[in-house]
Every structure is written in structure tokens, then in C-alpha cells.
Amino acid sequence: MKEPIVSAYLDGDPESIPDISVKSIKVFASIFSSYPGAEITIDDPEGRFLSALYTKPGATITIAAQSGGVESSSDSPVLTFCPFRVIGVSNKGVLLTDSDMVQLGSLGGDYVIHLCHPWAMQSDWSNHAYRAKASEIVKKIVSGSNRGFAFTNITIDPTDDAGSITRYKIGESEARFIHMKILPYATIDKQASYSFVDELGGFHLRSFLRMYNQEPKMAILPPRSDAVATLWDEKSTLEQMPLYDGAWWIGRKFLEQIGNFKKVLYVEDSLSQISFVANLPYQPAIPGYTLMKKEYVDNVKVTDVSIYPYRNFEDAVRLNVNNNGVMNEFFQVSVTVDFAPDLAVVGQTTLLKISGYETTKDHWMNGKWLVAGAEHFQKDGRYYSKYLLSRPALNNLPTDINPESLYKV
């Protein structure tokens, strides 16, 4: 078995961060935040890197990786994560709450380099007014190169809005403008929109459904054993990865989510001065079963109320749809597999194929999931990828559960 190779270069110099000194490299991203981050820990027992003022905030670091695989396979192509900038350097003992001690005299120990995508530091800060569809505004902004770097890979789905409302970018970064003034009022196919940069540097403005519709490149299965041998398919076109570690949370945001099933909206359209009281039943990004009891949802008239004064009707309705985006996290599973950023990054899909309590039966969790968060990290000298998988509803149910009792969306 070949282990993955992960290396970091400081300001383009391949020799500057010796692999032998690197204790770990961690890269993380999420569809809910604007840009990814990373952390490199260098073993520096004598304080050599610190005394040389080895890295400074603002410096460029490139992280490149080559996935592992079976010995017989040919070398995987080198994959480069998005460019990163140093935003700080520390060691573990710096906080008053930290119990880790450093080497007296040299301030040696772990030399941790904190990294962020350049968009966190570099932005076009100029003020502008835009009147266009949200997707066109975002495209115009991210296609610009007046910030010291350019996005090379941009995926933008067309938004539903008419583009009749002027948006003002005033004293704010591009990322902040998009997240604060565009995203709340932008829907795609009448579903919530997400704007983020993935670990490889690609920019996305997408809906959950459009991301979910992508074909997975990877299937996650239980580690090979005789008991689950039937799950493994030697002819599979997907890369099959053993599951090392997993966790799940159903209803982590349940108290926010339950209100979306039958929400009532109070809106006074600022253009027409007409007041609306709209009953808005939940429209899921993908259909299926929630674990809500059917009778509960059927028997209650309203689960939550939202009031939007002063907004244009179009903005208010889209704001409500984006508030419903939390429903896409109704079911969440985290899985840890071999290092696989070449197979899945945030905004892509993966197939979950685990066994049920009886190993011959499918688990109700099985199926396609969206990668909502990702962390590629090193532990005990090995590199892994941990994915946070999300979906709003389930296709399958355990055979002993009566589907009639569950609220289907």
C-alpha cells in the first residue's frame, strides 16, 4: 500500500518546509463558509524555525498532495490545494488555558502555521452598485482580477431573481458582500443557494440539488471482511474506500428545522404596499422521508412565523427560502476514509454503502450524500480525509418502519 504524500512549499520554494519536519498538514473547507483554511504543524523542538522568523503573516504557502493506493497502481497525479496565505504562527502553549509547555530558553515545540485562502486577505474593496441577477453580480465580482489573485475555476448556477433590485457593495470585501447582500436573496431553482470556495480553489454559487445531482467518484464501505464481502464490488467504476471512523447526528439543528415544515410568512411588499400572509409548506431540495411523525406535521397548523417588513416581496420570499436551507442538514454523517481530495471535496457527492445491523441488509443511511464539509488531515503519520455528509431526506427506510407513519416531503 502506498501512502499519500503531502508537501508544503513556502513562497514557491520546494525546499523551504522539509517534509521530515512536518508533523501534520490539515486542510478544511465547508459549503457554509466563504473560503477554506489550513494548518501546518512543524516539529520544532529547539525553536529553530521561530528564531529564524521562518514564516511571516501574508507569506504564500502551496500544499500539494499525491494520493496513495495499492502498490501496483501507477502514481496518482499531483493535486494542488488552493493557494494559502499565512495568517498567523503560534505554538500550542500560547493561550493561558493551554497546558502544553514549550522548551525553556528556545521557545521550541510545535510550530503551527495558520493558513487561509487568499480571499480572506485580498479583495477588491472598491464600492459599486449592481443591478443584475444575483448570479450575474457574483460572476462579475469573482471573475475580476483586481485583488492580487484570480479564481481559475468558477461554477455559478443561474439564480431565479429578476435582478431588479440594486445591491450596494459599500466598504466591504467581495466575500462579505456576497454573503451578506447577495446570498440571502438568491435562490436557484427555488432552492437555497450556497457560495463557497472548495479546498482546490474552485469558486461555487450553487444549489444543494445541483450539487447533489453530480455523480459520485467514491463509494464508502465498511472495511473488507467476510461478513461484508458482498458490499464490495470488484467491477465498480467508483473508487471504493473503507470507512475507518464514522459518526452521525440526526436533528442537530432540529429546533431550527422543525419550524420550516409549515411556516407562515408576513410580508409587506415595499413596492406595492400590499401585505401578504403566506402559508409556505416545506419544499425539500431532494424528496424523501424525514423522521418527523406524519401526524405531528399534519395536525399542527403552523410551525413557525417569519415577519419581513420593508423588504420587496421578491427579496422576502427568497430570504425565507434561504432560511429553509438549514433543512438540507437534517441528516448528517461524518466519515473518515483514506486521503481522498482527488475523489471528493466540498460541494461534491459520495456514495455511502454500509451494512445494516444484519450485514446482509442495506442500511437506511445508504445512498448518495453531499459533502458539506471536509477536513484532510494527518494522524499518527497517516493522512486521512474526513467528510461531513448531509441530506434533507432519506430514500430508504428500515424494513420494519412503516413509511406511512413518517412525513414524506
Binding site: 464600492n127 452598485a129 450596494y168 440571502p184 419581513y308 420587496n312
Partner: protein, 252 residues
């Protein structure tokens, strides 16, 4: 960072659904039929290059039309207005013209009360007891002032050229022109341009004007029901020892 040092926490977040007060400069007045104003919120929009996309907001109160000097006509001296708007400026209204703030120690941007009172007193329309502290000025510019004495209910509408409408408890005074009352209106040789004024009290109406023109098919003076005997003639008429002279300053 403590909140008070965080610039963003000092401002209302862009997502607030609450109207905030902003100061803005008038950019332009749209064409007739559109009573809104195009404004530039200050300082937020001071350098926005897309001038056509600057907000166009209606008056805050229905029935009002707010105007002022615009950037389009005079870039440096455009008037400021108060606006109520959402923090992302997607919705907003113009409340009215904005005043200046000159600090705690002085305030130079006050109306000229002293000259105003002297002018009114010369025309006999206010008493010496009129008190600055009683005058509620509703609107004033260099050329116009409109105010009410909130104690007496007296109303004043005055233009800088001397025109005025004054409605006091005991009289109503209408005037056109700035001539001094010591030089009578009917004096063609007065050193200042003539003026016309009507002073109306419970007991009399006095009219001062260089030329009083009455156009009516019938004029009634008094209540005796008698007709005035007269003759229209360009020259004196001699009759029964008396000579009737024509009044050359009264024409019919």
C-alpha cells in the same frame, strides 16, 4: 477585539429589517411626474461610480415633494437630505432637507431674526413684545421664511424682496414690494421702488398703492342706497356759480 473597536459592530448590519437614518446629498430630481429624489448616501456612496444606480427614493410622507440644490446642477453646493433606509439601501425614503451640525459652541447657520423683526416693526405688523423664543420657524431659506408665533397663533410668510403675508390676531397684512412705509406708496418721487399693501383690521381696510384699479360693473360705498352724482369731463365745468374740477387721478 472588543465590540466598540470593531467598525462593523458600530454600524447596523446589512441584513437588519429596520429603517435607519442616513444623510444623503441630492444628486438629481427626476423628470416631472416622478416626485422622488436621486440621492447619494454620505459617506457610504461618496465614490460609487455607477451614478445611474444611486438610490431614487420617494418622500417619507405622502403629499410632500422635497426639492433642493442638486449635484447635477451644482456639484459642490448640492443640498443634503435626511433619509430613512434599510442598512443595505435596498429600500429608502427621503425625510427632508438636512441641517448642518457645527458643534456645541457656535451655530452660524441661523436665520436673521434681528433684521426680520426690524423690517416687520417698520411696517407695523409686529409689536415690540414679539419674542424670538415664541417663533416656530417652519421653513426658511435665504429668500423665504415661514413661521408661527406659537403663543399668539400669528402666522408670517415673508420673502426677501419684501413680499409678505401676515395674519395676526388683530389684523391681516398683505404686501408686495420692499418700500418704506414712511415714504407713502402713492409718492411717485419716493427714493425706493413703490410698494402695495393692504392692511385689514376689524375697523378698517387701508390700501396703499401707486395705482388702485377696481374693475367691477357696480360699486357700492356705504348703505344709504343713494347714487353718486358726477360727470365725466376732461375740463372744469361751471354751473350756478360753482366750478367742478375733474379729479385727474381718478379715472373711470
Amino acid at each position: 477585539m472588543q465590540p466598540q473597536y470593531d467598525d462593523r459592530q458600530r454600524q447596523a448590519p446589512a441584513y437588519f429589517d429596520q429603517l435607519q437614518i442616513y444623510k444623503a446629498r441630492i444628486v438629481s430630481k427626476p423628470e416631472p411626474g416622478d416626485d422622488r429624489l436621486q440621492v447619494r448616501v454620505i459617506p457610504h456612496m461618496v465614490d460609487i461610480p455607477e451614478k445611474d444606480l444611486l438610490p431614487i427614493w420617494p418622500p417619507f410622507f405622502r403629499g410632500q415633494v422635497i426639492v433642493g440644490k442638486t449635484e447635477a446642477i451644482d456639484q459642490k453646493n448640492a443640498d443634503y437630505v435626511w433619509c430613512a433606509a434599510l442598512p443595505d439601501f435596498s429600500v429608502g425614503f427621503v425625510i427632508g432637507l438636512a441641517n448642518t451640525y457645527e458643534g456645541q459652541d457656535k451655530y452660524a447657520h441661523s436665520y436673521n431674526y434681528k433684521d426680520l423683526v426690524q423690517s416687520l416693526m417698520k411696517r407695523g405688523v409686529v409689536s415690540s413684545t414679539m419674542n424670538y423664543k415664541d417663533l416656530y420657524v417652519q421653513y426658511w431659506t435665504d429668500d423665504y421664511l415661514e413661521m408661527v408665533n406659537f403663543r399668539t397663533g400669528d402666522k408670517f410668510i415673508i420673502q426677501s424682496n419684501g413680499n409678505m403675508i401676515v395674519m395676526e390676531q388683530n389684523q391681516i397684512y398683505l404686501r408686495v414690494g420692499s418700500g418704506d412705509s414712511s415714504e407713502t406708496a402713492d409718492n411717485p418721487n419716493a427714493s425706493v421702488p413703490p410698494f402695495s399693501a393692504i392692511r385689514m383690521s376689524r375697523k378698517e381696510i387701508s390700501i396703499a398703492t401707486p395705482h388702485l384699479r377696481v374693475r367691477a360693473s357696480q360699486i357700492t360705498l356705504g348703505d344709504k342706497g343713494l347714487n353718486v352724482l358726477g360727470a365725466a369731463s376732461p375740463i372744469p365745468i361751471h354751473t350756478e356759480g360753482a366750478t367742478i374740477h375733474p379729479q385727474t387721478n381718478i379715472k373711470v
